[in-house]
Amino acid sequence: MDFPTARHLLQRTSFGGTPAAIRRLTAKDPLGAAQILVDTVDTGADVVLPEWVDGRVRMGRTAARGELDALNAWWLGRLRNAESEFGERLVLFWHQHFAASAPDVPAALRGRWHRTLRQHAAGNFKALLTAAVADPSLLVALGQADATKKSPSPAFAEALLSRFALGAGQYDPADVAAAAAALTGWQVDRSGKQRFVGRAHDSGKKMFLGQSGRWGAADIVRILLADDRTGEHIASSLWRAFVSPDPDPVEVSRLAGVFRDADYEIKPLLAAVLSSDAMVEPTYRGSLVKSPVELVVGAARVLYLDAKASDLAWAAASAGMRLFEPPVNGWPRGIAWLTAETLDRRNSALGRLLRAFASDPRTPLGDTRAMATWLGQPSLAGARARDQAMDVLLVVRPVHEPPEWFAAGDIIRTLVLDPTYQIA
């Protein structure tokens, strides 16, 4: 495939490509590359989280700031260094898909849910959805932990229908009420463990998505998974995360078919998405907006910035994104990320990150020779070096093209701080 296609594939499936990685990929064809990505994806099911994640949990108080920061930095460190970038992107996708947080969800529970996500991220969606419905951190975040027959909690049911499975607008308020009733009784005890409290459960008859019965939580999940719209919602979400902000209905329906035929195995769906024509179609290039995490991790990985995890976490946070603390309905998507103010903050964070490594000889920022090495050329300077750096870092021509006489660091700095660097 050509250089721009390879660059695009890496932009979407990893955190952007270094010149060397892009060039390596040009030797492959898109279908082969997609298959390798899926075959080698590693979502880190066996990661080692901070020890306290499996320690004692104290419910009913605000999560400790230090623990949340530690989790955030821990993941950013992994995002910066993990071998399987696609695996991390996939975990980020599910982290956003199942976004649910509240101040009183203990950090340890968030960490355990994160491990569960990693175990299923490239596994089977049935298992993943089943785990989500039973997960203490989600139950607490969405007010389900103390829901009873007398006072059911619609928040969890609403999230389950609108975001986790069916998709917005695919159900009636009565379906939410029915699901909320069915989920009553699945509580979280004082040690942070999920438990079933029979007397809190509403065992009455419910009408859910046109089916009547004495439904419990497992039935709700079963009915949702039997509904075609669930597969379509997941296919469409993946499309939005990896292809373009406007899913093609025909393609989504085809992908949902692949997903169902594979009995909700995630890898065949990923393979179908990554090998679709749309993935290499030039029209979609640059149609997505980088999240703050994608932005800072991308800059660090592509430019060889050996940044501390806590510094990356700070940079992403200053642009509005703390992992493990998503807003109630998830982070913004697409252009909703960007206002004049957040653009300022993103650039400020990027600028400082770059300056901290301006004289590091391992980065391309130091001098002409360092930049030539980064570009994989024995010696390269002037307009050609500038143009190649542009092709690596940006998907379109920049608003402010750095003059060719700029020093290496200033060329890269100008390109990274160009508004066009924000799109992927």
Binding site: P245, S287, G334, I335, R352
Partner: protein, 379 residues
């Protein structure tokens, strides 16, 4: 800032800022940082402090500087020990009228640093800045919420990548305000959106610039050099009531490794003339008391001269502070030229003392990141 707020900035809400800037507030009233402007002048490259404020009576200076030194007779004598560079007549005048504070031996612990690292320290107020270190202006003003539409800093200097002072507005000379933003709308919403936001910011800077151009005849000539134009623009921005706390100016060329004497004289001559014109404009419009001109450099130069008629990158430097509210005089302790550390002058005043003094005594901010550093008392 969303589009609505941006339009408000340009029209309705900040009218108070534009129409009646509080420059004219009564003397002695509690300082409000948002009515007082710092003109921060960076002499880029490392200014030779010893040939700016010359210790002409110090035998160590006389012994070390055989070629790269100035005839004592020509200096503007400040006292029995120090003289100002002969090219800086207007600054010498401010000394006589007690509007010039000279801060000796300004630097950071450690060093020598390279230009880049030293500029980082200068911008952040941290000897070891990391990626999370904010600009010193952000730190100094972090406890004082800025009024709506206010920017912490505007960069009037170079068009290249400049330092981050907290919330820079990229104002540029000579009013390039018309950046090529007229990209044809593409089919790509993400691209159009982000380029549009960028255009908004540029338009905001341009609006400030346009208003500055409308301020009529300044009645004083500024040098035709870059630093002269920057000072003229600063004067116009102040007249227009631009909502900016710090205007950063830059004069390049101070990295005088060779043939220092004539180049240095040209630079300081330009700088001095620009400061003189600026002072006279602000005195006339009664704003001189609410403005502080702070001239710094990332470091000084070595006491020793080199074979090329220049000096090498140094450590401690000198800061010049001018304004209608300044108590003229010498501050800090002059470094001992006879006691060098590995050939370098040892700093006696931490940059953070300078920044802290500005925050406390000029902006009236009592608690800030530099509170722990002793104030210098020039205000």
């Amino acid at each position: 800032m969303d589009r609505r707020r941006f339009l408000q900035l340009l029209s309705a809400t900040p009218l108070a800022l534009w129409a009646a800037p509080a420059w004219t507030q009564e003397e002695g009233a509690a300082a409000d940082p948002w009515t007082r402007t710092v003109i921060l002048v960076h002499l880029a490259g490392g200014n030779d402090a010893l040939n700016t404020v010359i210790p002409f009576a110090d035998p160590a200076y006389l012994a070390a500087r055989k070629r790269v030194s100035l005839p004592v007779k020509k200096l503007h004598h400040l006292d029995d020990n120090y003289g100002l560079h002969p090219a800086m007549a207007p600054v010498a005048y401010a000394w006589d009228t007690k509007e010039l504070a000279i801060v000796h031996g300004v630097g950071f612990p450690g060093g020598p640093f390279g230009h880049y690292a030293a500029c980082e320290s200068l911008d952040t107020g941290s000897p070891t800045p990391g990626p999370t270190t904010r600009g010193w202006i952000s730190e100094a003003l972090s406890n004082v919420p800025a009024p709506r539409g206010f920017a912490l800093a505007a960069d009037l200097g170079m068009a290249g990548p400049g330092p981050d002072l907290g919330a820079p507005l990229a104002l540029r000379i000579p009013g390039d305000g018309g950046p090529k933003l007229a990209r044809p709308a593409s089919k790509n919403r993400a691209l159009d959106h982000v380029v549009g936001l960028h255009a908004e910011r540029r338009a905001q800077a341009r609006e400030l610039w346009v208003r500055a151009q409308d301020t009529g005849d300044l009645g004083t000539r500024f040098p035709a050099s870059s630093i002269g134009e920057q000072f003229a623009l600063a004067a116009r921005l102040l007249s227009s009531g631009a909502p900016v706390a710090v205007m950063r100016l830059e004069q390049t060329g101070y990295d005088t490794h060779r043939n220092q004497l004539s180049r240095h004289a040209d630079l300081l001559g330009d700088l001095g003339a620009a400061i003189g014109s600026f002072r006279s404009v602000l005195l006339k419009s009664n704003r001189w008391r609410n403005v502080l001109v702070v001239v710094v450099s990332e470091f000084g130069r070595t006491l020793a001269e080199n074979a090329g008629g220049g000096t090498e990158d140094g450590t401690a430097g000198v800061a010049l502070v001018l304004g209608g509210s300044v108590r003229g005089g010498m501050y800090g302790t002059p470094p001992l030229l006879g006691e060098l550390n590995d050939g370098q002058i040892v700093h006696t005043v931490d940059f953070r003392s300078l920044y802290g003094t500005i925050a406390t005594d000029f902006w009236g901010v009592q608690k800030h990141a530099f509170s722990a550093f002793p104030g210098l008392g020039f205000l």
